[in-house]
Amino acid sequence: MYFWIKTASLFLVRSRSSTIVLTLMVLSAVSTLIFLSSLAIGINDAMIRNSVGLFSGHISGFNIPDDITKKQLFTEGVSGVLKRIPTSGFLHYRDQLEMTTLIAVAPAEEKKFTAIWKKAFKGRYLEPGKKEIFLSQPIAERLNIEPGDNIGFRSGTDSASVELTVAGIYKTGIDQFDRGVSFCIMSAIPVKSSPWNAAIFLDNGVDKEWIVGKYRNAKLNNISFKTWSDLMPDLQQLIDLNYISMSIVIVLVFIVVSSGIAGAFSIFILKNIREYGIMKAMGITPMETASLIFSEVILINLVASTLGIIIGAAAVFIFENIGINLSAYTSHNQYFIVSGIIFPRLTVFSLCLPPASALLFSIPAAIWPTALVIKRSAADILRSI
């Protein structure tokens, strides 16, 4: 076998131009598909990052009793836990009333992990220590209020009204937010401290279900934890749909590219039919003929795929760091609400599938010309050239 591999590599090295052309074909197909599949994963990542990064986090904990602290929710893979205390009530300004859920937050931490503060289109986000409110645009419009105005908040009919200054007005474009959610700092209103809600942010690549499982094992069973896919089933469906459609596109692209590669491999093998005819006359067996041809195909694939992986991975690495800014095409899309920058990401799947497919398509492509070389007599081959 060593002799056939060596002879195959000599054939490839010495038939320089056709080897280079074939290598470039496989290389460009493999590297392009690695980049395309990494881009698809990057788009999904961006949608998740945008959706969880706006406010909710990867996991949301609801109705957490006061005896459970933020620290207890920190575990390996968790990068941040934000404490939020929601209070339902109404806002009153002059003679107008507006229902709202006022969420008391820690502004500094919120700014570190979420992007809701970036959505201020008038005024600014909350500042620690100030009795301020951050209102949504529809509420502000209905109340005809501007940043700097004072507004009252009452959590119940019999509770006292708290006066807050409007720090800023935000607009996310997401209905559930914009319709009736307002924010203030923890000390701004006399909110009860229990129960509280948590927004839990995870490190890159950490499985959300694994963290939820850890909480359950840590006897936090009585807390309702919901992952982003529970809270945003539409996003989960969109991501699944994106995976399916990108897989179909990648398979179709690969079928087209592979047909070209398969044809090129057939031509490459048949181009050397004279050589195989001479070898047949010298007594090489059908198995040895097949060994030689398949060694050529496998060797060229190995070299081209390795180069394709390196180039594809390098391109992904570059754009993984600088990102691809698609903001101009995503500004009205709620799943790209924070940022329209896509960061392609390599996975084992995106790295291995293209070279494996190249091999998978080129080996069957070599079967027909190999069978032809084996079937035709040496005399017939030598007569035809």
Partner: protein, 219 residues
């Protein structure tokens, strides 16, 4: 002993069915030299190919050294060819991606034989030791044919089949090749079957068969 018994071969072509060989029976004793002569299209190459197992006759049998070669499987025939036969074609037909050394050592590797010494010895004998690392495209026509001959006898086959080996060479170069072929084959005890128009070759052969329209018309 090489013996063909009533072999026939026809081809289909654009001009209809061409009868290349009709009931050809010939015999060559081991170590002897045989010349196949005849006009172009008389069936010389087809007969040579059938004897060498490069193509299968439609009818009849070819017996080489006690083996009816066309009853062998493809694999068995390949093993038989690599051990017992050597071919020299009209255009040399060296493997174009292999050097002279790699070309001559090819049948030696197939037969698990020592190669370095044998290749050097053969190149010395044919007077071309300096081309050992050359690629086929760097050789002249005469050199190519001499290398093809060296490759054909490298593994000491029992039979050398040569299809018009001097047809594309000038007289002097052709004579040189013939001298090497007959001299070295005699040394190695190798039978030669050669198809040719070359009178100098015909004179050197122990036996001559003349073919016309696929039939033996004279011996």
């Amino acid at each position: 002993m090489i013996h063909t018994h009533n072999i026939s071969k026809s081809y289909r072509s654009g001009r209809g069915t061409v009868q290349a060989l009709s009931d050809v029976s010939i015999s060559i004793p081991g170590g002897a030299t045989l010349a196949l002569v005849g006009k172009s299209g008389s069936g010389k190459t087809t007969l040579l190919n059938c004897i060498g197992g490069l193509e299968r006759p439609d009818n009849g049998s070819v017996n080489c050294f006690g083996v009816d070669i066309h009853t062998l499987s493809r694999r068995e025939l390949s093993y038989f060819q690599r051990r017992n036969m050597g071919f020299v074609f009209q255009f040399g037909n060296l493997l174009s991606y292999l050097t002279v050394f790699e070309n001559i050592s090819f049948p030696l590797v197939l037969n698990n034989m020592e190669k370095e010494k044998r290749v050097a010895e053969l190149l010395e004998k044919i007077g071309l030791p300096e081309v050992i690392s050359a690629m086929p495209y760097e050789l002249s026509g005469g050199e190519t044919q001499r290398i093809a001959f060296a490759r054909a006898i490298a593994h000491s086959p029992k039979m050398l089949l040569a299809d018009e080996p001097t047809a594309n060479l000038d007289t002097e170069t052709g004579e040189k090749l013939v001298k090497y072929m007959f001299g070295m084959c005699k040394e190695e005890g190798c039978a030669i079957i050669i198809s040719t128009h070359d009178q100098s070759l015909i004179k050197l052969a122990d036996r001559t068969y003349t073919l016309l329209d696929g039939k033996v018309i004279g011996e």
